[in-house]
Symmetry: C5
Subunit: 242 residues, 5 copies
């Protein structure tokens, strides 16, 4: 069975984010069929549990682009694809249209490492999430302009240091995770956040808007995906009107 | 029961704006089903009235993007989501496609406060809406460029002062409300207006186009949502052909 | 009954432009139902004739965005909305999807007035339309950049004078009308033209492309709506295959 | 009957380009209905042959935007519209969704005339198409920026001379035709090409990319329409699975 | 029968890339019909095997834009079109909507040739793919700005040399192929990659982002197509739920 803790913390893991809209005719299915959907979804998750882990989120009502979000991790992108193909063959999946699908890979810290930026690296380790359990997820794709990528490594390091400083205070109430997507999707990064405090998150993102790095964003959101963290069971039942 | 006056005036409240198109097949439902839709909509609003308040607007005929607009306030975004999930499970909701959905949070005045800009702050308090009851709503999403956010606080304060001055004369005939959305949606602000005088509103927005702040808009509208203020009962009956 | 001549010439009148595509399944309706559509459309126009006037245009075959265009004038935008809601409840309206909908308000001349620019104002009055009756309509939405709006009034007056000069020669074969939309729609202006001579109109628009004002267009068209002027009766019958 | 040779060579003729996708349910019609479609299409073309000429192209498989392209010429745009309205009432037309529709007008040479640019004008006449019969069509809409239109006539002439020089060598294997669209569509020009040699055409367009005029393109393609030249009979049969 | 090795290595060959979404109602077909789809797809490929070669890829789950990708090579674009028209007439094809379709032509090396850039040319030949068999495909359309095309040939050569240098190290784990599309599609190039190592590919694309050439990209992706390499048989069976 896939090791969830390891997949969520080690480099070289593929993250796959896909959002879906449930088509209107799904609710016209007999209640019995929709009632069976949650168990079927869980069965597919279980079928692939040796290779992939799946997180599920309800986005309906929090953004126009989707009703739900899947985050899938695996060390083998083909295994992730196999799961998503099976998901689309479930009852709910057959009535779902994919509206965004971004893939990325996790890496060791590029800039704020012990070697390159020891103080900020220490800062990143000095605090951990201490708020109540996160209820919300936010996914924000990022694409940077050619000027950013054509900077020297030193210049980019400086920019990321300026970026990192104001974020330290939010370590206690916003969890973050970064995926690298250049060439794998129409984004350079997928930034993933969990929080119980959307006001704090809003302030964090305003702080990130205020640093020069922001002048190099050609995509920052579009879509910004906001959802609530839900078990697959609750998610599918909610979308099935159960 | 949620305190409407408080939710509409205090900081830290979440505002959720969603627009919908009613699918063509809705009008093919038997009249009896459509006739029941208004009562059902009210029932869902009542079910959630302890946590959320709901305002409803008819946008059909005033913009291509939607037939109606919902504005939902709550101190808990998950409660707002729960209401909207239930709305989508009503008869009208099942035949509605969401076309835009933006969320934001209210805050105390950032710039034109008693401390930072006392004269303009006094100006904002010197006049109140005195026109006939507003019949129209306008919602305009705003996103600002990186140059704006990278200004010093003092520079931004100056810009907002220049922005505020020409708006004072419209306090008497345009009501306004501001929501902060950075990181929560693909916008930095949701600006909400009510008026009985669309000509005055047009002049207000021209005045806002004429200040330097306007050079920092990367989104200002898109969509501009224009609607008439309607009770949920009238809204649903109108869209149901009743 | 609404005074057509007055609504088309006085300031403070709301103009509403909406374009529609007829869904494919409309033609699958029994011929009898489609045959009744023209009379029903006229009935709705008549029902609202005390408050709104309606002009109808066939755009099918002249642009990908729509099959027909409605232009509605009224001194009360809510009355316009009431008409359009009723239109959408007619047989043809129920099978129509709105593809664009822009609203604006008429105003007295802002720039080329007797006071500010007497010579050009006289020029505007020196010639009137003398070609054969217009058969074509063109609607072009305009949005101007922040630099335009941040000019001084004098600068903008000069730009509009340069804009106006080359247009004088087309007074004889192109009719024009201007609506102001800032804040009411995602445009600053709706420019409306009627002509019998599309070659002359093409030359007029090339002349307008050649003045510096054109550097301030962030929207100029998108869509450019081209249609033929048709009575409601002919329009509905044409689209109904009658 | 409309004079094809004249319509294709004289100024003041309207060209109408429309692309279509055939809806999926077309192939679910009984074979007999689809079999009759080709004759019906020809009948409509014949009905209008006194005023319009029609060229037909198969684009399926060569671009995502359409399955087929119609090019219609007439000296009266309303006559063109009448044909296209009738086309949409044929069996195939009823199952077609229009995906682009641009109109333009032919004019005498603006720049490379005998007077203004005698050498290049002679160059344009010095060679004619001598390759095998064209099998392919390419349609590329063009929109130029305000800086282009604000150049003096002399500057623009120079730019077009630089544009024309490298194109002379392709006179033998690429046919071209130009339509003017400013104000009639969201383009300034429709450029139309026929060729039997797509490699030569690719080289021609690379040559055009390499001249300064290219810096003034705000639209150059989008869509680029590539198709094969087909009779109406073959086109309709192919799309009908016959 | 078409010579696969030759078509994949010689200049003057047309490459056609098309992506598709399978419509939701496909899965509502009786299993027997879907079961026959794979054989039917193979039959169509075989029917055209004298002129075209077809490669098939599963993209579902790896991007929102499509479920599968076809790459077709031929020396005659009309032959390619004939195949794709037949594909769309298969059971799966009839339930497929094309979402992107780009065409290009292969050419001899333009810049890094033995003559112009002997060292880098030798570098390109010094290593060959030595990783395990590729499992993944990536297709990235490229469009360059007018400034790029207006450079002298020498300047562009220098840029491409700087582009090529960091790519040499990836010859061992990423296969590449280039198609020229100017004027044939809304792109200048189609870049095609195969790899077994998506992490290496991500690093290659980051290296390409870091060279000045990247400042001249007006399209680089949009869509980035990521898929797994599958036989037609497996592809069709997977999408058919078999």
């Amino acid at each position: 069975m896939a090791d969830r803790a390891k997949l969520l913390t080690t480099p070289g893991v593929f993250g796959n984010f896909s959002t879906y809209k449930v088509r209107a005719d799904y609710m016209k299915l007999p209640a019995a069929e929709r009632k069976a959907a949650a168990a079927e979804a869980q069965m597919v998750i279980d079928k692939h549990k040796d290779k992939v882990i799946v997180d599920t989120y309800l986005t309906r009502g929090l953004g126009a682009g989707s009703d739900y979000l899947l985050r899938v991790h695996s060390t083998d992108m083909a295994a992730t694809q196999a799961f998503l193909v099976d998901w689309r063959a479930t009852k709910l999946g057959m009535y779902s249209d994919v509206t965004e699908n971004l893939v990325g890979i996790t890496k060791a810290l590029n800039y704020i490492s012990k070697d390159k930026s020891p103080d900020l690296n220490a800062g990143l380790s000095s605090a951990t999430y201490s708020d109540s359990a996160p209820r919300y997820v936010i996914v924000i794709p990022v694409k940077k302009d050619a000027a950013w990528w054509n900077m020297s490594d030193e210049q980019r390091l400086k920019e990321i240091e300026v970026h990192t400083q104001p974020t330290l205070q939010y370590l206690v109430n916003v969890k973050r995770k970064l995926y690298h997507s250049t060439g794998l999707a129409d984004a350079d990064f997928i930034t993933y956040f969990e929080t119980a405090d959307l006001a704090a998150f809003n302030n964090l993102l305003i702080a990130l808007a205020k640093v020069p790095e922001n002048t190099h964003h050609v995509r920052w959101g579009n879509p910004t995906v906001l959802g609530t963290i839900q078990s697959a069971d609750v998610l599918v039942k909610t979308l099935s009107g159960m």
